[in-house]
């Protein structure tokens, strides 16, 4: 399942890794200080990353 | 038609003046000898559709007053000694955020609980420098019941016009004294309402001083979304640490009160028999009543005494005090404290004449005899 486009707003990301840790599908990884979308095709659009990001830095769009 | 008149207490007259000025909110906490102001407001405000709230302490009281003012109401609080101390932090907030409000302080002895039922004039320096940081201050010091009414009205006018807290200080003697007062008709005394901003919503900047030292203040809920903070801020109201902006704003906030034009507007004094005076009694509030009596008695004895009575204590009447120091042999400052305004008089007089004080802090008013004795001792 996918059809998700995950947008990272790098300017806002502070690299806390909350999104990475709470993504149930390991879609995301840390790239030193910012988050990187590595397996977008696995995303189930649960929105956890977007809801939990304290910094308005990640958005899950419907494609 | 004869004007309406009544025999009322100073504290009541204060509340009546507030209503005349259009006050619509009172937040307070009871304390002797100011409590009657709250009692009177609790009875009168609902009649005019206003709100009265007894808060949990004096800090909450002034906080509620600042909140009410930001929501658009003319707002008042009243207190005495210990309560005045508690309010200091938020008086500073109203200064820096530039929120109009009126603070009544019916002075008693101190420090601490001191003498709750006795009069005092020992908060006059606190009225100037009580809150931390640089700031301007306006304090009015009426001496009679009639004047408490009119000065309370003027306090609201100045608060709205200069967008800041204005303090009215009187003491237990006039607060609790009853005198006949003649009520001004509606419209007889000037009542100044807050100037609303003309900026379109979205463009309003609460501290944009490009059109004058006092930018207009919008009310929350009137269509402008803006930010208010106690931090140093830029003209848009948001915090800044940019040195030049911080300094410029602080200077403007003092200038708006202390520039020559504002001083001329805010200062108010009464002068009595000063034309040829050798001795000037520099007295304010209820002490000025004894001083005036003393002037009359001294004149009978051939001593050329006169009275200078500031009605606006802050900003300090620098110019007139300096002129009187040139003219007179001596300036005597009677105060119900151990010496506060006398230091300011000394600073301004610059050794041009003798300066001496008459002090009393035992709970009794300064009497004319004491003042006369001091005058005779000095000259």
């Amino acid at each position: 399942m996918s059809g998700a486009r995950i947008e990272v707003i790098e300017r806002n990301c502070k690299g806390c890794s909350i999104c990475v840790e709470f993504c149930p599908k390991d879609v995301l990884e840390m790239d030193v200080f910012v988050v990187k979308v590595v397996r977008p095709e696995d995303c189930i659009k649960c929105m956890q990353c977007e809801l939990l990001c304290p910094d308005f830095a990640i958005k899950v769009h419907d494609e | 038609m004869a004007k309406k008149s009544a025999l009322v207490q100073g504290n009541q007259a204060c509340a009546q003046g507030a209503i005349y000025a259009g006050c619509k909110f009172f937040g307070g906490y009871p304390i002797t000898p100011s409590t009657e102001v709250a009692e009177e407001m609790s009875a009168m405000l609902p009649k005019v559709g206003g709100k009265f709230i007894q808060m949990e302490d004096e800090i909450g009281a002034i906080a509620s007053v600042i909140g009410a003012s930001l929501a658009g109401a003319k707002a008042l609080t009243a207190t005495s000694g210990p309560g005045f101390s508690l309010k200091q932090e938020l008086i500073g907030y109203a200064c820096i955020a530039e929120v109009p409000c009126v603070i009544i302080n019916v002075m008693r002895g101190g420090p601490s609980t001191g003498m709750p039922t006795g009069p005092g004039q020992s908060d006059v320096m606190q009225a100037r420098w009580g809150t931390h940081g640089d700031h301007a201050a306006i304090a009015l010091v009426p001496q009679s019941i009639q004047e408490i009414f009119t000065e309370t009205v003027r306090a609201f006018n100045l608060a709205e016009k200069y967008r800041m807290p204005v303090q009215v200080l009187f003491d237990e003697i006039v607060g609790h004294m009853r005198e006949r007062i003649e009520y001004p008709e509606p419209g007889e005394l000037e009542v100044i309402d807050r100037e609303a901003p003309t900026a379109a919503p979205g463009e309003y900047k609460p501290y944009d001083a490009s059109k004058g030292l006092v930018p207009p203040l919008a009310a929350f809920g009137a269509g402008h979304k803006f930010h208010v903070t106690g931090l140093n801020k830029a003209e848009d109201g948001f915090p800044t640490t940019k040195a030049e902006l911080v300094a410029a704003e602080e200077v403007r906030q003092i200038q708006k009160v202390e520039c020559e034009e504002a001083r001329a507007d805010i200062e108010s004094n009464e002068e009595y028999m000063l034309e040829d005076a050798d001795v000037v009694l520099w007295a304010y509030g209820s002490s000025a009543r004894s001083a005036r009596y003393a002037v009359n008695e001294l004149r009978k004895e051939g001593i050329k005494a006169g009275l200078f009575r500031p009605i606006t204590l802050w900003p300090f009447p620098v110019k007139r005090t300096a002129e009187l120091a040139e003219q007179a042999k001596a300036i005597i400052v009677p105060e119900m404290n151990l010496g506060q305004m006398i230091y300011e008089v000394e600073r301004v007089a610059q050794n041009k004449c003798i300066i001496d004080g008459v002090h009393r802090v035992d709970g009794d008013p300064l009497n004319p005899g004491q003042i006369m004795d001091k005058v005779k001792e000095v000259i």
Binding site: F56 | G60, A63, S64, I66, G67, H227, V228
Partner: protein, 273 residues
């Protein structure tokens, strides 16, 4: 899908000042979603805070915002609300701000049952000043002023609010983001004083000192120790040891709301009754 937070945030204000992983940002997003769910007209909404990291929240939101002095949010808000009862008034701030220096105003706003929604971000610490203990720091934990462990007993903010007379009280955590907006929405819609306690994390001033390896550790703890109030009813005291309850903890609709009471008083006085 992707939520439009930006329309509620003042242009140019992001990134915000909070540290990486600080829970306050999660709460702010929940508050925005709740304000949207309630369709609050931002021109008729005043958001009031005290001083502290949490209290910086209003500055980001495009509304009437009032950043007051340490502890005084509830008292300022009371003045705003009583003057203009039509105004939506929301308070927000930290545990220290609301329950230490501002404790008196907080309990009295609850007692009056004034129609204000108070979102209190409880990170167990004075974050802004570098991690001194607050009335909510658990006993035994480390803070910069409890180097030997905190000797003080702690406040339960929700219980305090209920005891003081608030009529809608709920608790959740930053690790339960959907519940944040659900509960704040209920709080805003409730007529009377509503308190929503959101337990969140201060990785910088609390986590580090108390051997949480990371903010993830702290978030996991919030998830693990949260017990929905309904589920708790079926649990034994042993099972509840070390846990806290979440969800709506108290809801009462009979107590009169303060500004309505005062308006009724005005009417009575003006009619000369």
């Amino acid at each position: 899908m992707a939520y439009d937070y930006e329309k509620s945030i003042r242009p140019g204000k992001l990134p915000h000042i909070w540290c990486p992983g600080c829970g306050h940002g999660i709460v702010m997003k929940g508050l925005i979603r709740a304000m949207d769910a309630c369709e609050l007209d931002r021109e008729k909404t005043t958001i009031v805070s005290g001083i502290g990291c949490a209290s910086r929240l209003p500055g980001y939101l495009d509304a009437c915002t009032l950043h007051t002095a340490h502890g005084r949010a509830a008292a300022f808000a009371t003045g705003v609300k009583l003057t203009n009862p039509e105004m939506n008034v929301i308070c927000c701030g930290g545990d220290g701000d609301g329950t230490a220096i501002g404790g008196n105003h907080f309990i009295h706003a609850c007692r009056r049952n004034i129609n204000i929604t108070y979102v209190i971000m409880n990170n167990y610490i004075y974050g802004m000043t570098g991690g001194q203990f607050s009335p909510c720091t658990p006993t035994g934990m480390k803070a910069s002023t409890t180097p030997y462990g905190n000797p003080d007993p702690t406040f339960d903010i929700s219980k305090l609010a209920i005891g003081a007379g608030a009529t809608f009280v709920a608790r959740t955590t930053a690790a339960h983001p959907r519940e944040i907006d659900k509960l704040i929405t209920q709080g805003i819609k409730h007529k009377g004083m509503s308190v929503i306690e959101v337990l969140d994390d201060c990785p910088t001033s609390y986590g580090r000192r108390n051997k949480f390896r990371s903010v993830i550790d702290m978030m996991k703890r919030l998830k693990k120790d949260a017990v929905p109030a309904k589920a708790a009813a079926k649990m034994t005291p042993e099972q509840l040891e070390g846990k806290f309850l979440t969800g709506v903890l108290y809801h009462e609709t009979d107590k009169p709301e303060y500004t309505e009471q005062y308006d009724a008083l005005i009417k009575r006085v003006q009619e000369g009754a």
